[in-house]
């Protein structure tokens, strides 16, 4: 549970580990029925319609201004998003 939570960058509350372990086991028990299906020669489906790599012209078009992009930022500083240090202290 702790490993998955770290992969998901999802902090857990006290008691969450047991709570999610129990609930996810119940859901996974249902999901295990997929193993009964013979899929040996079946290709996977990622999306279901015929549209493939439909691209638009690579032409510049107006985007949001820096002001608009930063308008929802929890902390903006000097035109940047501010975050805590991304490097460990030496």
């Amino acid at each position: 549970m702790r490993h998955v939570a770290l992969l998901a960058r999802l902090g857990l509350e006290p008691g969450d580990e047991e709570f999610y372990a129990e609930q996810l086991s119940g859901i996974l028990a249902h999901i295990d029925r997929l193993q009964q299906v013979d899929t040996d020669d079946i290709p996977p489906t990622a999306q279901v319609v015929e549209i493939v790599n439909q691209l638009r012209e690579d032409e510049p078009r107006p985007g949001l201004s820096q002001y608009e992009v930063l308008a929802n930022a929890p902390v903006a500083y000097d035109g940047y998003f501010r975050v805590p240090s991304i490097q460990e202290e030496a």
């Binding site: 999802l10 859901i27 249902h30 319609v49 929802n72 929890p74």
Partner: protein, 484 residues
């Protein structure tokens, strides 16, 4: 004349004849919201200033004879669709205060068609749920029985139309989130073919399954709204450039059509006798209207829920990675390193169900489990799609109940996620196979609305709408506004 009980098509005639102004229509709806929404709680927030501006624009266009098909029509929008300058939160605390910097395509097209947005409707957090109880703000109540859920995840949009608070509304459907609440609230709701409506500006849940669609008070209204927002959008590479022909043969009826009843849907586990009785009656009506009812089979139905609950959480765990407390939304400012900042922001910002699905999806995609879960589910998805392909060789459309049950009491399923997931057992196949599906009211069971689902082959919205319309006409079942 109570305009809050009328259909879009009826109001369109009055507005175009200048017997009613968009301004007056809006004020009657704002008054209705004021009178009933403290009980229903369909709306998270109202947008009266935007609405007044749009109503004035609509009145000018109506006067000039240049009005679009939705000119002056009060519209409610689910809290997952971005509208410029309007707070859009996906029912989540993590986006509290977020004001969208742009308007998404589907909403934008309805605005261009003249719609008047009255407010933002409640939903399950990030559209994950079947009852709207997973909203991080408050639950919405079913207008037909206030102690019951409206269904979900688009429960606010369904109940707003059922309660006379908006003439039409928009929802999104990833596993049934339009059709199921439409059924439970006694209104019309439609999920189009994957790719029919642009998803640009939709806060993504599961990108290979999500579609935007309307809630309305008649099948005709549904066709009008769908037609106004359908079609290719350069900003969504999965949107289709197929002709916008959703209203073709709309009134042609079902005489000579073959309608398939999948036995796995007809006898699905947990279907209530009253729901089954209403569906039997609906099948008789369709038979009486000249359709041939044929048996079909969808042999992999039993595996649909399992495949869905791998694929949707996997996609959600990836999509929701963007909510990291950096660019927008709830943010932990106490953390001293970036990992703790992410973990704390997401711990406080996401509710129980969202965290459950992010955990499940991350697990299914994690090293060592990918083949057993995600790849396996994608292969089963292929089989489910083939089931529908085979069934549609024998019939023009598939009919079934939309939901195995009528609206259930608030709080009755919140402790058991699997029981809640089973609400979507008849709808999620349509998402896995990318099909258009519509739910229309087909009577009552225990005094509560039952929905008839019509599924059609991909890109055949015209067929789904035509069958639904034929049923509506032949049965005489009209959408009613709940007496609140």
């Amino acid at each position: 004349m109570d305009t809050t009980h009328m259909t879009l098509a009826e109001l369109q005639r009055l507005l175009q004849a200048r017997e009613l102004s968009a301004k007056d229509l809006l004020s009657e709806h704002l008054m209705r919201i004021d009178n009933v929404d403290h009980d229903v709680k369909a709306f998270l927030r109202l947008t009266p200033d935007l609405a007044k501006e749009q109503a004035a624009t609509a009145d000018r266009a109506l006067k000039a004879g240049e009005a679009g098909p939705l000119a002056g029509i009060p519209l409610a929008v689910k809290d997952v669709l971005c509208v410029k300058g309007v707070e859009t939160t996906a029912g989540s605390q993590i986006l509290r205060g977020f004001k969208a910097p742009y308007t998404g395509t589907a909403v934008g097209r309805l605005f261009e068609a003249g719609a008047v947005m009255v407010g933002v409707t409640n939903c399950d957090e990030f559209a994950m749920g079947s009852s709207t109880e997973n909203s991080s703000y408050f639950p919405t109540h079913n207008p037909w029985a206030l102690d019951r859920v409206p269904g979900g995840s688009s429960g606010g949009s369904a109940s707003a139309v059922a309660a006379g608070e908006a003439v039409v509304s928009l929802g999104t459907d990833t596993g049934g989130s339009i059709r199921q609440p439409a059924a439970l609230c006694g209104v019309v709701g439609m999920k189009p073919t994957y790719g029919r409506v642009s998803r640009y500006g939709l806060i993504a849940f599961a990108s290979s399954l999500d579609q935007i669609g309307p809630f309305t008070r008649s099948v005709e209204d549904c066709a009008i709204v769908l037609e106004a927002m359908a079609g290719r959008d350069p900003l969504d590479a999965t949107s289709s450039d197929r002709p916008n022909d959703v209203r073709r043969d709309f009134d042609a009826g079902v005489k000579g059509m073959k309608l398939g009843v999948p036995r796995e849907y007809y006898d699905v586990d947990g279907i209530e006798p009253g729901v089954k009785a209403a569906i039997d009656k609906a099948l008789d009506v369709l038979r009486g209207a000249g359709a041939e009812i044929v048996d079909v089979t969808l042999p992999h139905t039993d595996y649909g829920l399992a495949a869905y609950y791998i694929l949707a959480p996997a996609e959600c765990s990836s999509n929701l990675a963007r909510f990291d407390g950096v660019k927008y939304g709830m943010s932990d400012q106490e953390a001293t390193n970036i990992t703790d900042a992410y973990m704390n922001s997401r711990r406080h910002g996401f509710g129980t169900e969202v965290r459950r699905r992010v955990m499940l999806g991350t697990y299914a995609l994690s090293s060592g489990y990918y083949d057993a879960y995600y790849l396996k589910a994608q292969k089963v998805r292929t089989l489910i799609k083939r089931d529908f392909d085979t069934a549609f060789e024998k019939c023009d459309a598939i009919v079934s109940a939309t939901s195995p049950t009528v609206a259930f009491p608030i709080g009755s399923k919140t402790k058991d996620p699997l029981a809640m997931y089973l609400c979507d057992v008849l709808t999620l196949g349509g998402n896995l196979a990318g099909l258009p599906g519509i739910s229309v009211p087909c009577g009552l069971s225990e005094g509560l609305p039952v929905g008839l689902q019509v599924l059609a082959p991909q890109w055949r919205e015209d067929v789904a709408l035509r069958v639904a319309r034929a049923y509506e006409v032949a049965s005489g079942v009209k959408v009613e506004v709940a007496p609140l």
